[in-house]
């Protein structure tokens, strides 16, 4: 049984990581959801698995499941929901602002090599504005 749970956690992590590394926002959020499943299961499993033991204190109970990881995971589930919600709304906002659902707010640039030696002193180079890439210009909104 432990092997099955470990395998499930592994698969959830692998799928989550793969999706998180995608370029569009929606798969990334899906990946985060999978990763939070994996994390919750993992945390839960840290209390060891127990089948058919009571969850409630009773005088006749022989043993209990470890309640502490359960309490941790319970809040983690709710917090993970909050995080997923925030991430997806952030994705929506980014799409509204940049017009793209790429995680970097742009379609992939063919040549992202940095320009060196711009002779700036004492300050870092400013980020290149999105306008340069011809997306989401202010005049383009319908």
């Amino acid at each position: 049984m432990e092997l099955l749970i470990a395998l499930s956690i592994g698969v959830l992590v692998a799928c989550g990581v793969y999706l998180v590394l995608r370029a569009s926002t929606f798969p990334v959020v899906m990946g985060l959801t999978l990763l939070s499943y994996a994390t919750n299961l993992f945390l839960f499993a840290m209390g060891r698995l127990a089948i058919g033991v009571p969850a409630i204190v009773r005088p006749d109970a022989a043993g209990y499941a470890d309640p502490l990881p359960q309490a941790l995971v319970l809040t983690a589930i709710v917090i993970a929901f909050g995080m997923t919600a925030f991430a997806i709304v952030l994705a929506l906002k980014a799409r509204g602002e940049t017009g793209s659902d790429h995680v970097d707010g742009r379609t992939p640039h063919p040549n992202p090599s940095p320009s060196r030696g711009e002779g700036l002193r004492g300050s870092l180079a400013p980020p290149r504005p999105l306008r340069e890439r011809g997306l989401g210009g202010e005049g383009e909104s319908p």
Partner: protein
């Protein structure tokens, strides 16, 4: 409370309070700021007065409160002779500078900002010189760096001011790091960070193996702060500050902080060859370089800046000589330098103020325009040159005397008096230049303003200081002697040596050296024209500042290169690095552990149903990845994964988790569906093949790692806290559902934080969705228009019937939560689902008319109820969130335990409902964004 037991911290904190008051008062009246600053300073002096009396009677005051004993940090202050000397200089010269600045600042300059910074700086300096605990001293030390940054960059619109301030901060801040390391080492050696202990442990420290690194680290802190070679170049660049700032920072305070530390640690660190070589050599180089370069400055303040560097070098050199008499001379020179240099900076400010320039090639012959100021300047400059009957002469004689004493057999020893005299020559030459070039030497050249005497109150501080120079110079025994005596005692922490403050010591070597310096200085000044030409052509370009600039440029280039190497503005790349590094660390952990991979625990048997469910989970996960381009389908599969996870919780005896997971799952899928409406329905194929393989391999390895780790833990036995919670749940928390009791009672404070996070997420989402520029697509991806009849009739009808039932279930689950699976989290989710269902089935508009969708008040109420429950416990004298419980018999429901934790759970319930509904309804409201509009560019 008796003020005399807290007057040291009071004096230190007063200026900080004053800073806030001054900044506020300046809104009403600009001159009020100056008055308040002056009054604050006077108050601090007044508060300190009884303590000063005690110190002059030979006491050392220590006022200490335990703060963080675990790291040796006390809130501790100390006033001895050395501290008294510096505190007096800081406050008295500060007072004069405040008066001066009141007339110096023009109508365009913000008085509130200036005096607030000034007082902050004053408080920080007082903190440095009055701290008993070294860690606390370090905090004030850094505060001086920060507040001096603000002061130097006071004219923020000026490029040079910003550059100068940044340079000062970079160098003194860097030195501060070294000093911190040194102090930590010192504390480790002594076992205490309190000066009282450290000062007694001198022999132990000097014999310790870590003595040399400690000395070097502390010395770096001192050298950077006190502008010693090779860190001296920040000081001339800080001259872009307003002149009152220069007068304050570079005569009596900021640069003297380093010197103060030398004096403070003199009994602890001095007396070894290492000390003499390091401190003495650096002091000597600084003395010579500063005096030499000062002569060639055309900027009045530049000349004074290099002269300051040179005098600081002199003081450092004296401490470096390591004898007690040399320390006396150093302390004496600290006092004298503060008086004449402050007055000279003020004169420079007056000249700048009244002529509009500081260029000595243009300022000439000012004697007839401002005779009073000229006389003051000449006396102060003469004191700087070491002319007899002025204070500078006395300490310079002592210095020459010590230089002669220090000259031993070796060549280096012989060189000390020679170099001291050489420095004296240049010092006379640049002082002479300050007098002759400015007040004589023909007529002014093309001045922006017609020069005249300054307002009288601007001159009074200079008057006071110059009178002090003369009084000390002529009658040292009746003026400075008591102050010097306590300072010497405080510095040496022992019996002071015999020394004489007489003006006349007979014809001896120091007098000869003084004479050579005077004559030589005049000679050098006489041949200044060819010297200037030579300097301009040969030396000028070779400044350390350029090296510093070059280094900073290189550093930024490297930093930029590294940043760009890792961060190309791509989330994917950054995540890859983070995840890859995680894998690396995890692997290293696995490999470095010698323990067997699996433990001895007896494993649970595997049954067919579990296997089938587990296989479903694995297949569904994989499917959601394979199908992730078909977003809607992938989402449905994702929902299946979540459902299976909740089944797993059921199987492994965690009903609370299963309930939570189930309700969260539904909410999440609804949320993602709503969001998907505004996003492309399909993911384009953009990833290159190599990237897919790379990500796939990384994901596989990480998954493998997680699985192995989980297995390794699950197969081992462990001692857990479970027993404590299980046995304490009923008697301690009044509930049989241990998970719920942990949430609302044992770990209530954690839960408090978690609902706060949830509330913040809800509010954050609400804020993000304001004025969002999203346009709902008019049709789906295959070109079909959306159906308009949104709400199916059957769903509508049933949802309305279900609503009260669902709420009842929520109440039921909430009430039983303490004893049976349930509780605030789950009940909150169920209630939220009830409301969300109404929105889905009947439309937002319909629901909004019946249920208030404004959830801010729910969030606030929930947090208040939860926090209030904790407060009630505090009001009753128990720690925050302590719970109480009692038995209640309720007809129909039966006998149940009523715990105060239930109110806390109520708060949880309210926040969960508030946040969940707020998120979903706000997102749903976007759908109503009026007319369908064309698809945005970039849509696939």
């Amino acid at each position: 409370m008796d003020v005399s037991t807290i007057n040291l911290p009071l004096a230190v904190l007063l200026p900080f309070v004053g800073a806030a008051v001054v900044a506020w008062a300046a809104h009403f009246h600009r001159v009020a700021a100056a008055w308040l600053a002056g009054i604050t300073t006077l108050l601090a002096l007044g508060v300190l007065y009884p303590a000063l009396i005690a110190v002059f009677a030979g006491e050392t005051l220590i006022q200490s409160w335990v703060w963080m004993p675990a790291i040796g940090l006390d809130f501790a202050f100390r006033l001895d002779g050395l501290g008294a000397l510096f505190a007096l200089m800081i406050l008295v010269i500060g007072l004069l500078v405040i008066l001066y600045a009141r007339y110096y600042l023009s109508a365009k300059d913000s008085m509130g900002r200036f005096f607030a910074y000034m007082l902050t700086f004053m408080g920080s300096m007082l903190g440095v010189v009055l701290s008993e605990n070294l860690l606390q001293l370090m905090v004030f030390w850094e505060l001086t760096s920060l507040s001096s940054f603000m002061l130097i960059s006071y004219w923020q619109h000026r490029e040079d001011a910003r550059q100068g301030a940044r340079m000062a901060l970079a160098i003194t801040g860097g030195g501060g790091l070294a000093l911190l390391a040194g102090i930590l080492l010192l504390g480790q050696m002594v076992g205490s960070y309190n000066l009282s202990d450290v000062l007694l442990a001198g022999e132990q420290i000097r014999a310790h193996a870590l003595y040399l690194p400690t000395l070097v680290l502390i010395a770096i802190g001192v050298f950077t702060k006190s502008a010693q070679f090779p860190f001296h170049f920040w000081l001339p660049n800080a001259m872009s500050a307003p002149t009152p700032v220069s007068a304050y920072l570079h005569s009596a305070t900021m640069v003297k902080a380093g010197i103060f530390l030398l004096a403070r640690f003199f009994p602890v660190l001095a007396g070894t060859p290492e000390w003499s070589w390091l401190i003495g050599t650096v002091g000597m180089i600084t003395l010579l370089v500063g005096a030499f370069v000062a002569l060639f400055q055309h900027d009045l303040k530049g000349l004074l800046a290099y002269s300051t560097i040179s005098h600081l070098g002199l003081i450092t050199l004296l401490f470096g000589l390591g004898t007690e008499l040399a320390a006396v001379a150093a302390l004496f020179h600290i006092i004298n330098h503060a008086t004449f240099k402050a007055s000279l900076f003020m004169v420079a400010g007056i000249i700048d103020h009244e002529t509009g320039t500081r260029d000595m090639r243009r300022i000439n012959g000012l004697l007839k325009y401002m005779p009073h100021t000229a006389v003051l300047a000449m006396i102060a400059a003469a004191a700087m040159a070491g002319v007899p009957l002025l204070n500078g002469f006395l300490s310079k004689e002592m210095f020459f005397d010590q230089a002669v004493v220090a000259s031993g057999e070796s060549l280096w020893g012989q060189a000390i008096p020679v170099m001291a005299t050489l420095a004296g020559v240049f010092s006379v030459a640049y002082s002479l230049r300050f007098i002759h070039d400015v007040f004589f030497n023909g007529e002014p050249v093309n001045l922006p303003k017609m020069p005249h005497e300054p307002p009288p109150f601007m001159r009074i501080p200079v008057d006071v200081l110059v009178v002090l120079c003369i009084a000390v110079g002529m009658l040292p025994m009746f003026t400075v002697a008591p102050l010097l005596a306590v300072a010497v005692q405080g510095t040496l922490q022992g019996v002071p040596p015999e020394y004489s403050l007489a003006i006349w010591h007979g014809f001896n070597e120091p007098l000869l050296m003084s004479f050579i310096a005077l004559v030589g200085g005049i000679a050098v000044y006489a041949v200044r024209k060819p010297l200037f030409a030579w300097y301009e052509s040969r030396v000028r370009g070779q400044q350390l500042r350029h090296l510093y600039d070059w280094k900073i440029d290189k550093l930024l280039q490297v930093a930029r290169g590294v940043t760009r190497g890792f961060d190309r503005g791509s989330l994917q790349d950054m995540l890859f690095w983070v995840l890859g590094f995680t894998l690396l660390m995890g692997t290293a952990g696995f490999l470095s552990s010698a323990a067997p991979l699996l433990g001895e625990r007896v494993l649970l048997p595997l049954d067919a149903v579990s296997l089938a469910v587990g296989a479903t989970l694995i297949l569904a996960s994989l499917l959601s990845v394979v199908l992730h381009r078909e977003r809607l389908i992938a989402l449905v599969v994702l929902g299946a994964v979540g459902l299976v996870v909740s089944l797993a919780f059921v199987k492994f005896s965690a009903p609370d988790l299963a309930l939570t997971q189930l309700s969260v799952e539904i909410v999440t899928i609804v949320l993602l569906m709503l969001a998907l409406y505004f996003l492309p329905q399909y993911t384009p194929r953009t990833s290159a093949v190599w990237r897919k393989w790379r990500d796939g391999i990384l994901a596989g390895l990480l998954g493998l790692g997680a699985a192995v780790l989980a297995l390794a833990v699950m197969t081992r036995e462990t001692a857990t806290l479970a027993d404590y919670f299980v046995t304490q749940s009923v008697p301690g928390g009044g509930g049989a559902n241990v998970v719920n009791v942990i949430l609302v009672d044992f770990r209530g404070f954690d839960t408090m934080g978690e609902i706060a996070v949830l509330a913040l997420a809800g509010l954050g989402i609400f804020a993000l969705l304001q004025q969002i520029k999203l346009y709902a697509p008019a049709e789906d991806s295959s070109g079909r228009a959306w159906a308009l009849e949104a709400n199916p009739f059957i769903l509508q009808t049933f949802s309305r019937v279900l609503f009260p039932l669902m709420l009842m279930v929520a109440v039921f689950v909430f009430l039983r939560g303490h004893n049976l699976p349930g509780g605030g989290f789950i009940a909150g989710l169920i209630a939220a689902l009830a409301i969300v269902l109404q929105n889905l089935a009947n439309g937002i508009g319909w629901t909004a008319q019946r249920i208030r969708s404004d959830m801010h008040s729910w969030l606030a109420a929930g947090l208040l109820v939860a926090a209030g429950t904790g407060m009630v416990a505090m009001a009753l004298g128990y720690p925050f969130l302590t719970s109480a419980h009692t038995h209640v018999h309720w007809p129909v429901v039966g006998d149940f335990e009523l715990a105060s934790a239930m109110f806390f759970d109520m708060g949880v319930f309210l926040v969960v409902v508030g946040a969940t509904v707020m998120i979903l309804v706000e997102l749903g409201k976007l759908n109503r964004l009026d007319a369908p509009t064309p698809v945005l560019q970039g849509e696939v």
